[in-house]
Amino acid sequence: MLRSRIIPCLLLHDGGLVKTQNFKDAKYVGDPINAVKIFNEKEADELMVLDIDASVKGVEPDFKLIEKLAAECRMPLCYGGGVSCAEQAAKIVAMGVEKVAVSAAAIENPVLLTEMAAAVGRQSVVAVLDVRKKKGFFSKGSEVCTHNATRVVKQDPITLARSLQDAGAGEIVVNFVDHDGMMQGYELDYASEFKQALSVPVTFLGGAGTLDHISQLVQRLGVVGAAAGSLFVFKGKYRAVLINYPNPQKKLDLCRDAVGING
């Protein structure tokens, strides 16, 4: 039986790893290569590494660092940040990265996903949507934002997710900005709506503070990707940096609840 994936999400900033809250207050948590080594030992399901500087600064991905990460990584790796054309995606996949994530560039130009899928296969193409509650006193509903939540996209988030799927994405990652770093649980209702609307695998990020939060997501949605940042890099209420990950038996227990719901 296929089981849910429990995915540490690491953010790259100025060459180091950081963790944010609501996309702000980046706190340094360590060296990326060292973190990959620790997650290797813990046999993590998959790793997601997002460079949060590249798109904002308009620079291309740090290929040297990606090559080092890929060589060290003994689990599937998804890289995102600064990818703006299919050639870059092909270069990253050739380095041994399983999946390449794009956000702003694909939202502005969904054909990018089609071109990436043609170059590396759609199973290696991931679209990331940063979703938050609309700001403003009278606003209702949610919106997608880009460039570390500094720009807003007009389209409805679920409609947009579906169009990115149709354009060539083989996986959609939904990142709930308002829950980022809050460790209070995933946004389950809205996550369920995304899952039902899409036919590719969906991964949720933002809000997990305990393994119970992951269990809640899996119980509610079935086989799903459950990604988290803070949960796997902080310990205790003072947010001391300590990389951690559930052991294999704990991981199976967390996912067992969902077995049989689909797949």
């Binding site: 296929l2 994936r5 199973q123 996986e171 590719v200 695998p201 689909n262 797949g263």
Partner: protein, 206 residues
């Protein structure tokens, strides 16, 4: 030494790193001359079937590979699309496969039982193994979990070639072994200790 076939498709570095860490001598082969010292062969592959077949056809290595595998009986393992290339043909493309293991590559989407499931089949799944298979001869006492990322699967014509299967909506063939010719749909190079063990077994018993 183990030669990993480098024809511009697939994750060569991950295999080199894994074999090196396991103390097994391995290097890539980018031309027919590089294949002369091969005692075992790894055929990786990702992406589209026809693209991978075309690249292999263009690499100049295919005639020598066929000679080594079919006449010299050098053990070979195809991984992911590399496994699918062992088949006669694929629903994903029009080019013929290598035809080393009888079978056809089919799409989950074309089977009504699996058509409604999320595609690609992505993540960790449990393998039901045939313990007598050389690839599982040693170190597979626990329930093996492997990483998958694919939408097409190998459907072996002769089911006695099947060394492991998994379930995604329906059972499908994951590992085939026909004598010294092996194929693995999942990614042993990204499947932690289970994958390392499978590749060690290939290096020793394959």
């Amino acid at each position: 030494m183990i030669r990993i076939i480098d024809y511009g498709v697939g994750n060569i570095q991950a295999f080199l790193t894994l074999f090196k860490r396991s103390g097994i001598s391995a290097a890539k082969a980018s031309a027919a001359d590089d294949l002369q010292d091969a005692t075992r062969l790894v055929l990786p592959g990702v992406g589209h079937f026809d693209h991978a077949m075309q690249r292999l056809n263009d690499s100049g290595m295919k005639p020598e590979l066929e000679r080594l595998v079919l006449q010299e009986s050098v053990p070979v393992i195809g991984i992911c699309v590399g496994m699918q290339m062992l088949a006669d043909s694929s629903d994903e493309g029009t080019l013929p496969g290598l035809g080393w293991v009888p079978g056809r590559v089919k799409s989950f989407a074309s089977d009504p039982v699996t058509a409604g499931l999320p595609m690609p089949h992505m993540g960790w799944n449990t393998l039901n193994i045939k313990p007598s298979s050389s690839l599982f001869q040693s170190g597979f006492d626990d329930e093996p979990q492997f990483y998958f990322l694919h939408s097409y699967y190998f459907d072996a014509k002769d089911k006695s070639d099947v060394a492991a299967s998994a379930h995604y909506g329906a059972d499908f063939d994951v590992v085939v072994s026909r004598g010294h010719i092996h194929g693995v749909q999942c990614h042993p190079e990204k499947s932690h200790h289970w994958g390392v063990q499978l590749l060690k077994n290939f290096a020793e018993f394959g």
